[in-house]
Amino acid sequence: MPNRDLDQAELEQLVQDLAAQPERWRHLVQHRPDERTYAELHRDEHVAIWLICWMDDHDTGYHDHDLSAGAVAVTAGAVREERLVLGGAPAARTANAGEAFTFGPADIHRVSHVGGEPAVTIHAYSPPLWRMGAYEVLPTGELRRWSLSYAEELRPIGA
């Protein structure tokens, strides 16, 4: 890997390469009905790579990644990515096993399990995720951003 932060295309290549090497992460796959599970596969100055396991109803809620770009490769099952659209339905897509998607630091999205077969995803963030924004849409339509440590997403209480 280059000795610098990676762009979205490089991150996508990275997660797809790892997805094609299950011997590097298969032993960490662990599904829990109540919570996603998380394992950090790699961390250096420029990139952090996580394995996340999903079951029915698992949903990140809307969030951003503050300073980090990212990519997600799906290795089993499927997840839905939704981009927040003001005054309209979210822009949604489904990523199935073998597919990947990317996001920039400024993108606001949520990722959820589509249901059925448990999903396994590989996430790469560059630079490593540090702070995040979590979004709350009030009944009045106002949007609130909560500043969070990345631990709230990747090391939540109970996981």
Binding site: E40, E45, P128, L148, S149, A151, E152
Partner: protein
């Protein structure tokens, strides 16, 4: 595993008595105004035995929701560097005294550096020590690391951690304020120990778990400078290293979290010198990781 504070100090009664009976520093001396602690490198400081009252300290821990308190030897006293026949009775009094206190307290073990042998590690762990505590200065050169190498090997074999804590300050101007050594020599010593570990210690002991007091003087925050000067900057990413947050707060802890990741941080308070850091602004997940999940991983327990 309960909420764990990996870094407190508590001098059991038996150690206080031995320190009060010593003819030279480190010792406790009674003056008209009360007890004073005399150390070789620092100005005499008032000593309040109430701060070491086990019942009071257990109550303080309970108030903070802390269920397990690891008690470190007070390495700045310099006991480890005394001749072995002077050091050993003091260390024995410390270990035995803390073990006898029972829950929530458990000691970090300590050895007289002049006579440190692997068998001492076994004896300490069998007594109930959480691991071994060494002053940072014991690790700051290849020769020192070689000398303590067999002890560290035994520690790694037993899967018990090393706790690195600042040692005695060099003799200085007694007019300096009490905060001077903690902000100068302690920080420099922890940084030097971390750098020496990055360069020589870790390659020699690849699986030894190491807990660094006081965020290792924030040494990992120097990683970019270390890389610029051709040093082993990748040592920042070490799955067998943990950093206690003692005496720091949300700014330094968040900066360290950015560099080493939240998994590497553990709660240490340095009580009674300091109170547990206020980390609420970093969020409940950071608090949970630092005080519960990470100590559980450090000690191979269930979170």
């Amino acid at each position: 595993m309960p909420v764990t504070d990996v870094h407190q100090h508590l001098w059991p009664e038996s150690l206080l008595r031995l320190l009060a009976a010593r003819p030279r520093a480190p010792r406790l001396v009674r003056h008209a105004a009360g007890w004073e602690l005399e150390l070789a490198g620092e100005a005499p400081s008032p000593f309040d035995a109430r701060a070491h009252d086990p019942a009071r300290r257990a109550a303080l821990a309970a108030d903070d929701g802390i269920g397990r308190v690891l008690v470190a030897p007070s390495a700045p006293l310099g006991i480890e560097a005394l001749p072995a026949h002077e050091a050993q009775p003091l260390l024995d009094a410390f270990h035995q005294g803390v073990v006898e206190l029972g829950a929530p307290f458990a000691p970090w073990g300590s050895v007289a550096l002049a006579a440190a042998e692997p068998a001492a590690v076994d004896a300490l762990l069998d007594l109930g020590a959480a691991g071994l505590c060494l002053p940072g200065a014991a690790l700051t050169s290849p020769a020192k690391l070689d000398a303590i190498g067999p002890v560290l090997e035994r520690l790694a074999q037993r899967r018990a951690p090393l706790f690195v804590h600042p040692g005695p300050a060099p003799a200085g101007d007694s007019a300096l304020p009490a905060w001077w050594p903690p902000m100068t020599s302690y920080v420099a010593e922890m940084q030097a120990a971390w750098l020496a570990w990055a360069e020589w210690g870790r390659p020699a002991h690849p699986t030894l778990k190491v807990v660094w007091a006081m965020l290792a003087g924030c040494a990992p925050l120097q990683a970019e400078r270390l890389a610029a000067r051709g040093g082993p900057a990748s040592a920042v990413h070490d799955d067998h290293a943990w950093f206690d947050v003692s005496s720091y707060g949300p700014h330094a802890v968040d900066a360290m979290l950015r560099v080493v990741g939240v998994d590497r941080l553990v709660l240490g308070s340095d009580r009674p010198i300091a109170d547990p850091p206020a980390l609420a602004s970093l969020g409940p997940a950071v608090r949970h990781a630092v005080s519960k999940a990470n100590p559980a991983r450090l000690f191979d327990a269930q979170p």
